[in-house]
Structure formats: C-alpha cells, structure tokens
Symmetry: C2
Subunit: 199 residues, 2 copies
C-alpha cells in the first residue's frame, strides 16, 4: 500500500465550510487537489493508496480525514466534490473526543487525531519519506514496500516538523530540479512507484 499524509496547517476544522470559496477556507482547494492527485488514475481509483489529511486550522483541531482508495466510491475528482466530502467528515466528526474515529462514507473516515500521532505510528512499521531540496533523487532512491509520504501544503513543512521527522528516521527525497506545487508531488511519486512496482 502507498500512503500519503498531508499536513494542512491552515485548513479549517469546523464544518461551516463555504464550498464556493475553497481558497478562503484555509486553502481547501489545494487540499482537494492533493487528494485528487493521490487517488485518481484515468477513469479509475488507485485502490492501493490511502491519503490522510491532517488539518489543524480553526476551530476544532486536530482533525484527520482519511481517504481509502480500496473502498472509496462515488466521488468525482473535482475540488468541489472532494471538499463536500471533507465538509461532511468534519460535520460527522465535530464532537469526537481525542483518539476517536468515525466512518463518514465508504472509503472515508474522520478522526480526532494529530499529525504527529499518526506519523509516529507509521514510523514504527513503514518507510517514512518527505520531500526536501537536498534529498536523494526519487529515481535512485531505494523504496521499501508500503512507503509513507509526508507532504506539506502551500506553507511547506515547518522546520520543527522536519526535525521531528528526522528524529523518527524519515528519509528525504527530491522529485526533480524544480520545487513542485504540492498537488503535483503525488503524481511524480506514483509514477516512480508504478515503474518500480512498489506497492
């Protein structure tokens, strides 16, 4: 399985989201594009992929909305449809206590869980990877099966998050000569993993 964890620092965690102004809602537009890039192929879903969106904007942080390609159904890849699903998740999860999780719809769950908690759990079982301009080229990097990628949003990963990842033994990679837009990163990663048959 391929797993992505998106740290969405400003994405609103209360469910009163205006679906007609995703940019204004803590850059929810970008969050939705990352989800779309992680999960969609032409006319099908990547069944081997999970993406967790760790949201820490106002007013009910932390919130973790997770999309499971294996069971995801009936969602189109446009920003607004994905935003509607996130809104529904935040609504269903509004009163969760820390550590609790709830089903939202097939392939979508919401939890009251912090980014750090999930990343720490994953580091115990999987190869943890994040993007860094001084990382190893994705084309030469030795992937293990079931890799977990940590991504930042438009703000990138804060320095303290990078240090936290380093302490957990995370590996740094880079995708090419240019620093890419967040939502383009899963596309390059998937392409490399498809070629190397890493699942």
């Amino acid at each position: 399985m391929r797993e992505f964890i998106l740290l969405a620092l400003k994405a609103k965690t209360s469910p009163n989201i205006n679906l007609d102004d995703l940019v204004g809602e803590g850059r929810l537009d970008l969050v939705c594009r990352v989800v779309s890039s992680a999960l969609f192929l032409s006319h099908k879903i990547r069944r081997d992929t999970v993406i967790h969106v760790a949201m820490s904007g106002p007013r009910l942080p932390p919130k973790m909305v997770s999309f499971y390609g294996s069971t995801w159904a009936g969602i189109t890849p446009d920003e607004k449809a994905i935003a509607e699903t996130i809104k529904k998740a935040l609504s269903k999860g509004a009163s969760l206590a820390l550590g609790e999780e709830k089903d939202v719809q097939p392939g979508v769950k919401v939890a009251k869980k912090a980014f750090e908690t999930l990343v720490k759990e994953k580091s115990e079982t999987s190869q943890l990877i994040y993007l860094h301009p001084k990382g190893e080229d994705v084309r030469t990097f030795k992937f293990e099966q079931n890799p977990v990628f940590v991504l930042g949003d438009f703000l990138g990963l804060p320095k303290k998050t990078e240090k936290f990842l380093d302490r957990l033994g995370a590996k740094k990679i880079k995708l090419g000569p240019n620093v890419l837009f967040s939502s383009h990163c899963p596309v390059i990663m998937h392409n490399e993993l498809d070629r190397k048959e890493v699942y």
Copy 2:
C-alpha cells in the same frame, strides 16, 4: 518554450458558465486542472510554458483560450479562479469571426480558431507529441527544443484525431505503466523536460 494543446471536446464555448458547477459545464473542472498543472510550480509560474485550450462544446465553437506563462499574472491555481478567467475569455470572444484573436488580460488570449488549425501550424515548426499506450517511454524519448504536446480531456483523443496527428508526423509517447488522469500528464512531462533541460 514548452507548449500544450488540450482538446476539450465538451467544454462549453458560450460564456454563460456556472462557476459553482464546473463538472456540469462540460467538465470545465478538468480543463482548469490541466491549465493549473501545466503552468504552476511551487509559488511561481512556469514562464517558459504556454497552454492552449481548444474548446468545442456548445454553443459557439470553436474557441481557443490560450494562457502564456511568460506574461500571466494574478491568477491563483484553483479551479474556480481559472474557470473565471475562461468565462471572461469566452465573454470577450463571443463575437469573434473565424481567425480573429483578442487579448483578455495579461497572459490570456481568446481566438475563434479550431484545434486542427493550431495543431497544423505547430507541426510545421515544432516537434508534435501525443500520448499513446503504445508510444515510446518518455524517459528514453529524444525531445527537441520547443516541444508541443497534444492532450485529450476525459474523453481522450478520438481515433480520427490520432490519425490526423499521425499524418502530421506527430510522435507517440507514454508516461509510465498506468494511463494517467489528463491533469496529471503535464506534471510528468514537465518533470522529464526539467531533467533533460528541454525548453
């Protein structure tokens, strides 16, 4: 310069576009994501890139909306902002006669021009490329400078368009083992061209 031509077969060409239902407007959501993928890097625009959207949906086809990275300004990468620009272009271009072109705003033009006309012009000066599952791998393909990529939307390129491209000497490439979502294709192409320093 890198150039993309997106054949958007169903994208509406009359300017009465509902910005809150891009999926319903001939999959304008997808068109916007392709534009975004072709032109955006992290916190900057690809100044060396142009994308032409050849729209042939109802009711005023053909329409060509072209985005020039070199002079594009003030547009955010979310679907709705790009759709607003396309709507403005269609409005300004509503009464153009065949062959006429008009400035919309810095870096954006609209023309009454068919896909086939533009592709034919480009074939005379540039290496023309399109995606095909039996094409050569993008990683071994020999790019010339100023390549022009032809892309399909959710419907793909019709067989007759592939034949037309073949007659013009277009080359076929593939991006990897999987057939990708349209809006992910420019990301892989750019990554390869960045690595090979093809502009």
